[in-house]
């Protein structure tokens, strides 16, 4: 059987001899296993890009968000301005964000997508990191300081373990929404699985390709969420007894 994934309208599968079919007559299934097997390399390539962009954006966002949250904790005015600024960034639609960055990082470069995604993860993570740090009881910190803990040890031994559940919740939200947002990167040609979604749309509304991309995104998000949830369980063994 001829493989029809790339040119879905070049003829209907299994009906040789009928020649070219009109767009409405050609079968256009919602899901086609032969599309997935036949285009495996392409799909895996885009999946790889999707994962790379997500991991890089979340990691960079976390690296920048942690010092910002630590700084913002120092005062009401600072935390207010960090949160205010972050909600402004958050309100900017992703397409506009990539468009803003395009003149600086290039309209066809993956950097544009990465920087935009990092800004969004940064905003989510700063809020959650700050909430986690503010949730650490002040008397616990004072007791640790009274016991002679320096700033570094105070952070590593007191703040971090106590704020870890909130930190992880933030990382999970950031990761899942970043996986969904990578698709918008398609505007620069670097949209990971979003390339399949829009590619299928442009190949005469080829549903199998669109659905493969969409389902791939959702599955990737769920897998990432489950992995992070597992990591959280591993890192915070003491919360397990409390959890119901």
């Amino acid at each position: 059987m001829a493989f029809l994934g790339v040119h879905p309208l070049a003829g209907a599968a299994g009906t040789p001899g009928t020649g070219l079919l009109a767009a409405d007559e050609a079968p256009n299934p919602w899901f086609d296993p032969s599309y997935v097997t036949g285009n495996w390399d392409t799909i895996v390539g885009y999946l790889g890009q999707h994962i790379r962009l997500t991991v890089a954006a979340v990691a960079l966002g976390a690296l920048i968000a942690l010092p910002l949250a630590l700084l913002a904790r120092r005062g009401r005015w600072l935390s207010g301005s960090v949160l205010g600024l972050s909600s402004v960034v958050y309100t900017i639609p992703s397409l506009a964000m990539f468009a803003f960055l395009a003149p600086f990082t290039g309209p066809l470069s993956a950097t544009t997508v990465l920087v935009g995604l990092t800004l969004y993860t940064l905003v989510i993570l700063v809020r959650n990191f700050l909430a986690g740090l503010q949730g650490v009881p002040a008397d616990v910190r004072e007791a640790a300081r009274g016991m002679g803990y320096g700033p570094a040890r105070l952070f590593l031994r007191v703040d971090l373990p106590l704020a870890l559940p909130t930190f992880m919740a933030g990382l999970r939200i950031a990761t899942v929404s970043t996986v969904a947002l990578v698709t918008v990167g398609v505007i620069t040609g670097n949209g990971g699985l979003g390339q399949l979604i829009v590619g299928g749309f442009n190949s005469n509304f080829y549903r199998a390709e669109i659905v493969t991309g969409a389902v791939g995104c959702v599955l990737l998000a769920l897998v990432a969420d489950v992995l992070l949830a597992g990591l959280e369980r591993l890192l915070t063994p003491w919360t397990r007894a409390v959890r119901t």
Binding site: S79, G80, L83, G84, S87, V88, Y90, T91, I92, P93, S94, L95, A96, M97, A99, F100, A102, P103, F104, P107, L108, Y120, V123, I124, R127, N128, L130, A131, G132, Q134, T166, M168, A169, G170, I173, V176, S177, V179, A180, L181, T183, V184, V186, I187, T188, G194, I197, V198, G200, F201, F205, R207, I210, V211, A214, C217, V218, A221, L222, D225
Partner: protein
Amino acid sequence: MDEGGPDVTAFGDALRYLNDPFNWTRSGGILDLLLEHLAISAAAVLLAAVLAIPGGVLLGRSTRGAGAIVVLSNVSRAVPTLALLTVFAVTPIGFSDTATVLALAVFAFPPMLTNTFVGFREVDRDVREAARAMGMSHGQLLARVEFPLALPLVMTGVRTAGVQVVATATLAALVGGGGLGRIINLGFGQQDLGQILAGALIVAALALLTELVLVTLSWAVTPGPRRLPFARVHRGTAAGQPEPAAAGIPL
């Protein structure tokens, strides 16, 4: 390209694009796209609100549904808006404003449902009991006690959904839909940095303006002692709780 580099040129081009009255008033120009954008967004939010707010009220007053709502709000975060817009566009509905409205309504649904649910769930049990002891009927209890108390969160849901829909409506342009996203999409298609930037400015301004208008609106309709808008500091909710989705998902 002048010494200012590509950025400066792009900004100049963007200003020139925005400063040309013809770009605004011609048919299919910025004003037309803006109207279309707002009409699509309003229809989507209304459609979702008609379903989500009564649903949230029902679930919030009953004792069940918390688990389902947590799952819904988590899963909705994982579904890319672009995917849903595309899928709706390739159904027999075809790519039209109807498909866009339906896809956006699906996304406006979870924040409104979650917030309405949390709002009604968190009405103080004692207050409810006192109202009943005063002889209030079921309807009076709902209209005069529970609804006013839940209103701030209901409005948070409407605001979140509204801003999200206005922002997401730009993505419709990637799959043949209308709205302001077309300017950006066309700009990328032509590699015209000025137009890209002009579109970004318009879309971002519209999103921020929507947020502003909706915050003011919810401030105006909320009864009781009024906290000034923009002075709220969000506190994170505990993990596992249905977060009131004040921040929602990025758009």
